[in-house]
Subunit: 502 residues, 2 copies
C-alpha cells in the first residue's frame, strides 16, 4: 500500500471512532437534558456497550500498526506539517488508550455514569455522605489510571494530561503562586472601597423573558442555530456531536437573571469554538480542540472580556432594560455595569466575579493535589473545603450544596480539569490584547452591537486550527510571546481600579 | 460448554445488540425531536456507523453457530416453552438478518435517513417532486430486499413480515374485502343522517393549556413519567430505548385540540405496552413487541375504545370543559361526545374517525401492492392517490401535503406497515369484548376516572408476554377464538347507530 492508501484507510478508521464519539456525546447530553430518572441503569448499559466498542476500535492492534507504519514513513513527526501533526497526535492517543486495560476503562465508565446521577441527588438534598463513596471509587480508579501512565513528575500530571497535554502541575503551581499575591492585593484594595448597589439584579426576573434574551445574546455572538440548540440542565455545559451539531445548555434562576445570561455567553463561547473548527480537519485528529485551557479561553473571553465590558453594555443595556423595565427602568448604565462587575468573595465558582474566580480554582487544585497524594480522605472533604474557603475567600458555605458538591467535574471523573479554567482566563486576556492591536476598532464595533469582528478574529487565529498546534505553541504563534499572566493582571487592575476608583 | 453456559453467552450477545438498538432509537428520536437541521449529514454518518456495528453483531457467524447449537439441543423449537421460543425467534431473526448483504442494509439506512429529512421539507412545502426520487430509491431497495427473502407468495409478504411475522397479503386482502362492504354500508347509512355540530372543536385552543391536559390524560392512562417523557414532533410517535425509557411525542395544532389529545392517548397506548413488557424477558428475543398489529391494538384501544367512549367523557368532560371553558361552557356532554365521534370522510388518516379509518388503510395497502408489482410509477402517485381518495372516501386533497405526503412511513422504508393499523383496530375490539366479559364493571370504573382496571387487564393478558406468542396465537389464547372481525363491526355498528339514531 502506498502512503496515500494507508493514510486513507487510517483516516476512515479514525473518522469512524470520532463518529461514534458523537453518539456517545448524544447519550451524555440526553442524560443531562432529557432522560427520565428511571432510565439510569439502561443508559449506563448503553454507555458501557458503546464505550467498549470505541475502546476496541481505538486500541485495535491493526489500527496501531497502521499508525506506526505511517509514522515511520514521515521523516519528522515534529515538523510543522499538518499530516505529520495528524499522525503524531493519533499515535499519542493510541499510546495513551492502550495503556489502560479495557476492564478498567469500562469500570470508569460505569463508575462515572452512576456517580453523576448520585451527585445530582446529593447536591439537591445537601447530602455529601451519599456522594462520598462514589467519589472515593472514582478517586481510586483515577489512582489506578495514574499508574498506567508512568513515568510522571506528579500523579496529577498523568490525569491533567488529557485536558492539557504536556502541562505539568509544577508549572501550574508556579503560575498560581505568582498570581495569588497579586490577585489578593487587588481584592484587598477593592474590599476597602464602598460596594456598588446591585440589589436590582436579584429581583424576580420572569424566566420566559430570560429565555428570550439569552437566545438573543447567543445569536448576537454568532451562534449558528442550524447547527446547535440551547436547552436547560442542572449544570450548564456545551457538547459537540460533530462540527455540525454543537449544543449548549443553561440554567435559569428566577432571582438571578444575570447568572443565566453570562452562563449562556460562556457556553456560546465554547460552542463557537467547536463550530469554527477547520472543516478540512473534520473527523481527523486535528479536528478537535486539544486543550481545555484553549476552550476556556474562548468561553471566558466571551463571558468576561466581551460580556462584562462597558462597550458591550453601552449597546445592549437599553435592550436589556426594555426586557426587564420593571426592575431596571431607574437604573443607569453605569450603575448596572458596576453591579455586574461587583467584586465580592462568594461561594459558587460559576457565579463568582473575575477578580476572585481564580481563587476558587486554586482551592480545587490544592484539594485535588492532596487527594492524589493521599493527604486528604474524601470523607473529610467538606471540612477541608470549608476551611480553605475561609482562608482564601473569607466566606464559608452553610451547606455542601453550595460548597464541596457544587461542581459536576469529580462525578464525571474529571480530576485535573480545574486549572484549565484559570489558564483559560490568562490566555483570554492575551488573545484580547492581540485582538485589540490587530483590530483597534473592536470596542467601537462592540458598542454598536457588532460582535462579528471578534468572532472573525477568533475563527481566523484560534478556531480553525483545531489541534494543529499545542496550546502554548498556538498562544506564541498568534500573540508573538509565550503565555504571559501580566495581560490578565493588567486587565483586572485596569478594569477594577476604574470601577472602584482605587 | 453446558447448555446453560451457552445460553448465558448467547443472552449476553443478544442483550448487547438490544442495548445498541436502544442507542439507535435515541439517534432517531433526537433527529425527529431536537436535532438542528444542519446536523443531518453527521446524523446519517452516526446511524450508518452504528447500524454497521449492529449488523455485524447480529450476523456474526459465531453468534449464528451459537444459536444453531442451542437450537439443536432443544427437542422441539415449537414447544410451548419460553426458552424454545426465545431460541426460535433468535434463529428467525438471525436467518433474516443474514439474508441481506451488509452494503444493502447500509444503503437502506442512508437512503431512509436522507429521505426522512427530504420528506419533512417536501411535506412542509407541498413539493412531491422533491420527495419522489427518494421514494423511488427506497422502493428500488425494498424490491432488492424482497429478492433476498425468497420464496414468498407475494413480494408484499416479504416486507410486511418484519411488522407482522407470518401474515400474508392474501389474508389481509381477504379481511379487507370482507370488511369493506360492511364499513361502506355503515358509512352510507351515517351519511343519510344529519351531522352533529362540531364547530366548537375547531376554535383557537391555547397550546399551553393543551399541553397541560395532554399530560393529564397520559397520567390518567397510567404513563410512568419516571420512565418516559413527552415531546413534540412533526409526526407523533412512540419510541423505546429499553423498557425503562419509552418516550412519546405529540403535535399541537391551535385550532384542533382534540387532534393532539387523541394522538396522545394513542401514543400513550403504545408506550404502556412497551413499559409493561415482562421484565423477566428484558434484553432477550422475548422482550419486545413482535407484531405491529398487537402494538396498534393497544394504541387504538386507548384512543378509541377508551378515549372516544361515553363512559370516559362522562368523567373527563367537566375537567376538559374547565380547561377550555371559553369554547365549551355552553356545549353539553352529549353534543361533545357526538362531535368527537363525528363520521365524515376526510383527508388525513391520523385525524379520521373510526368508521372511515380502515378505508385510508385499504387505499395505502392497494397502492403499496401496486408499487411492488410495478403497476404504478412513483411519479404518478399523487394522481393515483387522489383518484382512490375520490373512489373510497369521496374527497380529494387540494395538495399533496394533505394527500400522498401526509405519512412518514414510506420515507422511513416502512412499506408494508399500514395493514397493521387496520388489524390493530380489529384486535382492539376483540380485546375489549373479552375485557368486558372478564371485568364487567370496567365502564363504571372508567366513568369514575379509574382507568387502572383497563391497564391491569392489558398488562396481565397482553403486555407482559412480549414476544412469547405470535400475534394470532395470543389473540386466540386470550380471547378463546381466532381473529374475528365481527367484534369490530359490532362495535362500530352499535356505537354509530346510537350516535346517528340509525
Amino acid at each position: 500500500m502506498s502512503f496515500e492508501e494507508k493514510l486513507k484507510t487510517f483516516r476512515e478508521r479514525y473518522r469512524a471512532i470520532t463518529v461514534l464519539g458523537g453518539v456517545q456525546g448524544l447519550l451524555g447530553w440526553d442524560q443531562m437534558v432529557n432522560m427520565p430518572h428511571g432510565a439510569m441503569a439502561e443508559r449506563g448499559a448503553q454507555l458501557h456497550a458503546l464505550g467498549g466498542i470505541i475502546y476496541d476500535m481505538g486500541t485495535n492492534p491493526e489500527f496501531g500498526q497502521l499508525i506506526e507504519n505511517l509514522a515511520s514513513e514521515i521523516p519528522d513527526l515534529d515538523a510543522d506539517d499538518p499530516i505529520a501533526r495528524e499522525i503524531k497526535l493519533a499515535k499519542r492517543q493510541y499510546d495513551l488508550a492502550t495503556k489502560v486495560p479495557k476492564d478498567k476503562m469500562m469500570e470508569m465508565i460505569m463508575a462515572t455514569t452512576q456517580a453523576q446521577g448520585v451527585w445530582e441527588k446529593a447536591k439537591a438534598s445537601n447530602d455529601y455522605a451519599l456522594f462520598q463513596p462514589y467519589l472515593q471509587k472514582i478517586l481510586d480508579l483515577s489512582l489506578e489510571f495514574v499508574e498506567y501512565f508512568k513515568p510522571y513528575d506528579h500523579p496529577y500530571d498523568a490525569l491533567s494530561n488529557q485536558f492539557e497535554p504536556g502541562m505539568k502541575s509544577k508549572e501550574v503551581k508556579a503560575i498560581f503562586d505568582a498570581l495569588r499575591p497579586r490577585q489578593v492585593e487587588l481584592i484587598k484594595a477593592i474590599g476597602e472601597r464602598p460596594q456598588p448597589k446591585d440589589d436590582f439584579l436579584y429581583k424576580r426576573y420572569d424566566i420566559a423573558m430570560q429565555r428570550k434574551i439569552n437566545y438573543l445574546v447567543a445569536t448576537l455572538q454568532g451562534y449558528d442555530w442550524s447547527r446547535g440548540r440551547m436547552d436547560e440542565s442542572v449544570h450548564p455545559f456545551t457538547t459537540s456531536f460533530g462540527m455540525d451539531d454543537v449544543r449548549i445548555t443553561t440554567k435559569y434562576i428566577e432571582n438571578d437573571a444575570s447568572g443565566a445570561f453570562f452562563s449562556t455567553m460562556h457556553e456560546t463561547g465554547h460552542a463557537l469554538y467547536e463550530l469554527g473548527l477547520g472543516r478540512m480537519y473534520q473527523g481527523t485528529s486535528l479536528g478537535s480542540v486539544s486543550s481545555m485551557a484553549l476552550h476556556e479561553s474562548q468561553s471566558r473571553l466571551w463571558e468576561n472580556l466581551v460580556g462584562r465590558s462597558k462597550a458591550f453594555w453601552s449597546y445592549f443595556y437599553p435592550i436589556y432594560q426594555a426586557y426587564f423595565s420593571e426592575h431596571l427602568s431607574g437604573v443607569s448604565l453605569d450603575d448596572f455595569y458596576k453591579a455586574i462587575n461587583k467584586v465580592s468573595p462568594s461561594l459558587i465558582r460559576t457565579e463568582s466575579d473575575e477578580a476572585t474566580y481564580n481563587l476558587h480554582i486554586m482551592l480545587r487544585f490544592e484539594i485535588e493535589l492532596a487527594m492524589l497524594e493521599g493527604k486528604i480522605n474524601t470523607k473529610d472533604l467538606p471540612e477541608v473545603w470549608n476551611e480553605k474557603m475561609r482562608d482564601y475567600l473569607g466566606v464559608v458555605p452553610e451547606n455542601d450544596t453550595t460548597g464541596v458538591l457544587q461542581d459536576v467535574h469529580w462525578s464525571g471523573g474529571m480530576i485535573g480539569y480545574f486549572p484549565s479554567y484559570a489558564l483559560g482566563n490568562l490566555i483570554a486576556s492575551q488573545w484580547w490584547h492581540k485582538l485589540s492591536q490587530d483590530r483597534p476598532n473592536t470596542l467601537d464595533e462592540i458598542a454598536k452591537g457588532d460582535l462579528s469582528g471578534v468572532l472573525a478574529w477568533l475563527r481566523e487565529n484560534v478556531h480553525q486550527h483545531g489541534s494543529r498546534y499545542d496550546a502554548m505553541d498556538l498562544v506564541k504563534r498568534v500573540t508573538g510571546e509565550p503565555l504571559n499572566p501580566d495581560y490578565y493582571m493588567d486587565y483586572l487592575n485596569e478594569k477594577y481600579r476604574e470601577i472602584y476608583s482605587i
